[in-house]
């Protein structure tokens, strides 16, 4: 259980290190979409971690969830911008709430042992 959490933290840290050292800089126009997509992806990862702890982890669901969440969030931001509504806020709120829920559940699983 702890291993899963540590692996996640290490993975994120490694990703951040790689990202910081990569010479690629995204255009500012895409920053908004990437931000909500990153939030969705973060939520997916924590959701996957939680599923793994509850031992009903499904690879397919995890991967499709990861991509569909990220794409949906970015798509919402994109459509919202076209329509003049801050639709990305919906993604931010929804995934933010889920993030906290997932973290709470993971915490409970970890502390139960």
């Amino acid at each position: 259980m702890w291993l899963g959490l540590w692996l996640t933290v290490i993975g994120i840290t490694a990703g951040v290190l790689i990202g910081l050292n990569m010479p690629v800089v995204l255009p500012h126009a895409y920053a908004k979409y990437l931000s909500v997509a990153a939030l969705a992806a973060l939520d997916s990862v924590f959701g996957g971690l939680r599923a793994a702890m509850e031992e009903h982890f499904d690879n397919t669901i995890f991967i499709t969830g990861f991509f569909s969440n990220a794409l949906l969030a970015a798509g919402l931001a994109f459509i919202g911008e076209r329509l003049g509504i801050d639709l990305y806020l919906a993604a931010v709120v929804a995934f933010g709430v889920r993030l906290f829920q997932n973290l709470a559940i993971i915490r409970r699983h970890l502390l139960k042992k």
Partner: protein, 236 residues
């Protein structure tokens, strides 16, 4: 446990991806503060396009003006040429240029000693009146340029007796007088030699008069000072 391992493997991989995204986002967001914001960039792009358009317009204008300037320079050269030819013509009319052409040469000589007899005649001194009569006659006969002893007769030239001399253009002339006139030689000569005309009259008076037609004579230019002290161009 095998399932668990795969699970954690995937989670780790996606955690790396998420970290990557976060880092990219972080960098983008932080670099946004350093560089110009998006709408500012758009604004500047629009401005740049506008300025490029302006530059194009101004360049067109510049080429247009350049061609106009060229034309103006050309026409200026033309105008200068026209002015010069006009000036030349006016100088020619005014008698400031030497001219050549066919004409007559009139010789007038006094015979010394008034009161002395020379054959049938007494001696005779040419007076300004005689000279003026000859000049007038020549003018009346259509002469275009006249000079007396090398003094070009202008519109302002005087012919005035001064003692034994005659002043023309403030220059003292003395007998014999040689009058050259450009014009139709036949007309000039016959005008002078008319029956009862000047030549006859002067010869009767005792002067020595000769009239010769010339194919080519040269009438010199007036070379004295030109003054207009009182006359001013009138306003039209």
């Amino acid at each position: 446990m095998a399932l668990n391992r795969i699970t954690y493997f995937y989670i780790t991989i996606f955690a790396v991806v998420v970290g990557l995204m976060l880092a990219l986002q972080f960098r983008t967001a932080s670099s946004r503060d350093l560089s110009v914001p998006l709408d500012r960039a758009q604004e500047l792009t629009i401005e740049k396009k506008q300025l490029e358009k302006d530059v194009n317009q101004l360049q067109e204008e510049a080429t247009d003006l350049e061609s106009k300037l060229e034309e103006a320079v050309k026409s200026h050269a033309g105008a200068a040429g026209a002015l010069e030819s006009e000036l030349y013509k006016i100088k020619l009319y005014a008698g400031l240029l030497p001219v050549v052409g066919p004409g007559v040469e009139v010789g007038l000589d006094s015979t010394p000693g008034a009161g002395m007899r020379y054959g049938d005649h007494e001696g005779y001194i040419i007076k300004d009146e005689d000279l003026l009569k000859v000049l007038n006659d020549l003018r009346g006969a259509g002469s275009e340029a006249i000079a007396v002893n090398g003094q070009r007769i202008l519109a302002t030239s005087e012919v005035r007796l001064a003692g034994n001399h005659i002043n023309v253009n403030l220059t003292r002339l003395s007998s014999p007088y040689k009058i050259i006139a450009i014009g139709n030689p036949g007309t000039l000569k016959s005008s002078l030699e008319l029956k009862g005309g000047l030549v006859e009259y002067l010869s009767e008076q005792g002067a020595l008069v000769s009239v010769e037609t010339k194919e080519q004579i040269r009438v010199p230019a007036y070379d004295g000072p030109l003054r207009l002290e009182y006359a001013r161009p009138a306003q039209k």
